[in-house]
């Protein structure tokens, strides 16, 4: 069992958990992920490690509610336990001296680029962060990234904060700036966003790395469910990735495969909602009984 030490909302439906996992914390490098099971019988969910503290033996996970399992994870509070946490898995980000690196995070993807920002900075890079969100409330980790990066650009789809528009628009501006040529781009977020980012940098041949999020089961290479097509070859995101050259990734296939279990996800979601409703009714009935 793995104890949650801290649990708080970062944005609507986005929760940050600080979890006691000393062995994982000791080995964590930017780019690594863990597989988490909230409770016995639960799904195995891959989550990128957003931060770690080897001294305190903790890792930080940022989770967005997208289905029943993530809703349950986000309902956990400080002192609660996660049944299983295994990692750190995947290959760590190759942290090199690129020159000027732009990190582009969309939604919870911003949590993926956060540990990369400090490592890249420590390696002597100029680091720019671009963080996208639907509106102001959805832009996360701005303060933390500002403390590390040379420049940060929050972007909102509705223009309620920072750059008015998608992260691709801001990135387009950055790579067009002759004063500060961009040498590398690292991106994490929704698949359509990463695909669009790859298209922005392709023509200029700027090295672009995307952190992929396919469906996984074991996370150790055993099942092959996370296979993604990169440069025409099928690779396993869990052991060969999860970061790949974005210009070579077949994003259409990734998008399609992510939809394989929509029907099941809906039915599990409905089961969760009916359980919750039942719980509410039960509590109401018990309250009534007490009053009576």
């Amino acid at each position: 069992m793995f104890r949650i030490l801290k649990s708080e909302w970062l944005a609507p439906k986005v929760r940050q958990l600080e979890v006691e996992a000393p062995r994982v914390a000791a080995r964590h490098r930017p780019g690594h992920f863990v597989i988490v099971r909230a409770y016995s019988g639960g799904e195995r969910v891959p989550l990128t490690i957003a931060d770690s503290d080897a001294k305190r033996g903790t890792i930080t996970l940022v989770i967005q509610v997208i289905g029943a399992t993530t809703e349950r994870l986000c309902a956990l509070g400080s002192g609660d336990m996660l049944s299983d946490v295994v990692g750190p898995l995947g290959k760590a980000t190759e942290i090199e001296h690129f020159g000027h690196v732009v990190l582009v995070g969309g939604g919870v993807g911003t949590a993926v680029i956060y540990p990369q920002a400090s490592a890249l900075k420590a390696k002597g890079n100029r680091v720019t962060a671009v963080m996208g969100g639907r509106s102001k409330a959805y832009v996360i980790l701005e303060k933390e990234l500002s403390a590390i990066c040379d420049a940060v650009y929050p972007c909102t789809d509705d223009g309620s904060y920072g750059y008015n528009g998608f992260v691709t628009g801001k990135l387009g501006e950055l790579i067009a700036d002759p004063e500060r040529p961009v040498n590398a781009v690292i991106t994490a977020g929704p698949v359509p966003m990463m695909k669009a980012i790859a298209n922005v940098t392709r023509e200029k041949r700027i090295l672009t790395i995307a952190s992929l999020n396919p469906i996984m089961v074991d996370g150790t290479g055993m099942c092959g469910g996370c296979r993604v097509t990169v440069g025409g070859k099928n690779l396993f995101a869990c052991v060969d990735g999860p970061e790949f050259n974005a210009h070579e990734v077949d994003f259409a296939s990734l998008t399609d495969r992510l939809a394989a279990y929509r029907d099941h996800e809906r039915s599990v979601w409905e089961r969760l909602k009916s359980d919750q409703e039942h719980q509410c009714k039960l509590q109401a009935a018990m309250a009534d009984a007490k009053v009576g």
Binding site: R44, A68, S83, P88, T220, M222, N234, D256
Partner: protein
């Protein structure tokens, strides 16, 4: 009883759940011999002088000894004899290919059917599990610590043998539940999880510690184990966990699985419960499984139980060349699995939304024997045809998992990435032993157990300073 009288007794048949029923549930197929039939079967053993059966057993069980004890009515002694050679008899009694090992060499079998050694092993193990508190005696503690990587058949056996010898053993398992292939791969209807859990519990009762959620090569390295965690020796039995795909068009369509993924979802993650399970598995009207081994058989029989009609097995050679156990093939046929032999998939076909809709296959003929000694399959021109299906499962083998070996550059590997181990199970690193599929490539539970046992002896000698 005289040998001639014993020879006259017919081999007792294993009672089975009726095929038409069991094709729809996951409960065990083989029900186990009832006491009266088991007692009759035990009388068939001649306790012959050469006891060749023992030579056929990778873990060297005193087969005539345990059967004689049983025949004399001393089940406890029978159990002790079993457990002294094999810490997992309830498992091997179910999944060993006895017909090509002990039973193949049985003297009784030269004239008629061999003694049903596997059935008797299972009977005694099941009796012991229900009736005996402790069946294993342990040597006094040696003060030595051994780490075992992987809790599959190789690791569990090695751990049990080392514990018997008085060593302090910790088993590290990457998944959230111990058992390795015994819980993620082999289905409930062949090996109930409750049996694995109890055998694992027996090891824990012997003082073995099991730590789940630790991936050696990621969470800790081999170096950590020997240098910072203070282990005096290590056994690596992390299995051949990387599925091989055929590399044919259509493999990324929705509905294509490796057998590992399909079986893991259904077994370890309980997807057979359908909407009641958190982890899903795709079910189709038609399911096609490609391969000819036990894993392919497990896959197609699982698909059948999840409602597939047809549940179809496609294999490029003929039934005779199939590496699967005869019993599995027989059971699969009884359960209504369709066999398409001498057939090779060329392409997985998808619909416009990216779902599998069928597989295009080609018929094969058999040519000259190849390197494996089996006749080489040769494509027959113009024989292409389609099998409609919604799920396509590839069970054509696995490769060595690279996680541990990549993190251990000094460890010597062969050209396939398998760890090289000597006749005592020792690798190129002193004190680091290995066995099972990570050394052999894909093999059987019992061969992995044999390796685990051999390595335990090697480790014991290494730790005792008597060399290996």
């Amino acid at each position: 009883m005289k040998p001639a009288e014993r020879m006259k007794i017919q081999r007792q048949a294993m009672p089975e759940a009726p095929a038409e029923e069991r094709a729809h549930h996951f409960r065990e197929v083989n029900l186990g011999l009832p006491p009266d039939l088991a007692a009759i079967e035990a009388k068939r053993c001649l306790s012959c002088k050469n006891h060749e059966c023992v030579a056929g057993c990778p873990v060297g069980i005193d087969i005539p000894g345990f059967i004689a004890a049983f025949d004399e009515g001393d089940l406890e002694r029978a159990a002790n004899l079993l457990y002294s050679a094999n810490v997992l008899p309830g498992i091997t009694g179910r999944v060993c290919p006895q017909e090509t090992q002990c039973e193949e060499l049985c003297l009784v079998g030269k004239k008629g059917k061999p003694v049903a050694i596997g059935y008797l092993e299972r009977y005694v193990a099941d009796w012991a599990r229900e009736n005996l508190k402790r069946t294993i005696t342990l040597a006094p503690p040696t003060g030595k610590k051994v780490a075992v990587v992987g809790s599959g058949p190789a690791g569990l056996t090695c751990a049990g043998e080392l514990a018997k010898l008085g060593h302090k053993v910790t088993v590290f398992e990457a998944l959230h539940r111990p058992g390795g292939v015994l819980v993620y791969g082999i289905p409930e209807f062949r090996l109930p999880k409750a049996i694995v859990d109890k055998e694992v519990q027996t090891l824990q009762d012997m003082g073995v510690t099991i730590e789940c959620n630790v991936v050696i090569g990621a969470t800790l390295t081999l170096d950590d184990l020997t240098k910072t965690e203070g282990y005096d020796a290590v056994f690596v039995g992390n299995g051949a966990g990387l599925p091989v795909f055929q590399n044919i068009p259509g493999e990324n369509l929705k509905g294509v699985y490796s057998a590992n993924e399909y079986l893991t979802r259904v077994n370890l993650m309980s997807a057979y419960l359908g909407a009641q399970a958190d982890t899903p598995v795709l079910r189709g009207q038609g399911v096609v499984v490609v391969g000819g081994g036990n894993t392919a058989m497990d896959g197609v029989r699982t698909a059948r139980r999840l409602g597939a009609d047809p549940a179809c097995l496609v294999y490029r050679r003929s039934e005779k060349e199939m590496p699967a156990r005869v019993e599995e093939v027989h059971h699969a046929k009884e359960e209504g699995v369709r066999f398409e032999m001498l057939t090779n998939p060329l392409e997985i076909l998808g619909d416009e939304a990216g779902w599998v809709r069928g597989v295009r296959c080609q018929r094969m003929g058999l040519g000259e024997p190849d390197a494996s000694g089996r006749r080489r399959p040769v494509p027959i021109e113009g024989s292409e045809f389609e099998i409609p299906c919604e799920v396509f499962i590839e069970a054509i083998g696995t490769k060595a998992n690279p996680l541990l070996t990549q993190a251990t550059p000094d460890l010597k590997l062969n050209k396939w990435g398998n760890i090289v181990a000597d006749e005592n199970g020792m690798t190129s690193l002193p004190g680091v032993f290995a066995g099972g599929d990570i050394v052999r490539g894909g093999a059987t539970v019992i061969l992995a157990m044999g390796d685990g046992k051999k390595a335990a002896v090697g480790i014991h000698n290494y730790l005792s300073g008597t060399g290996t």
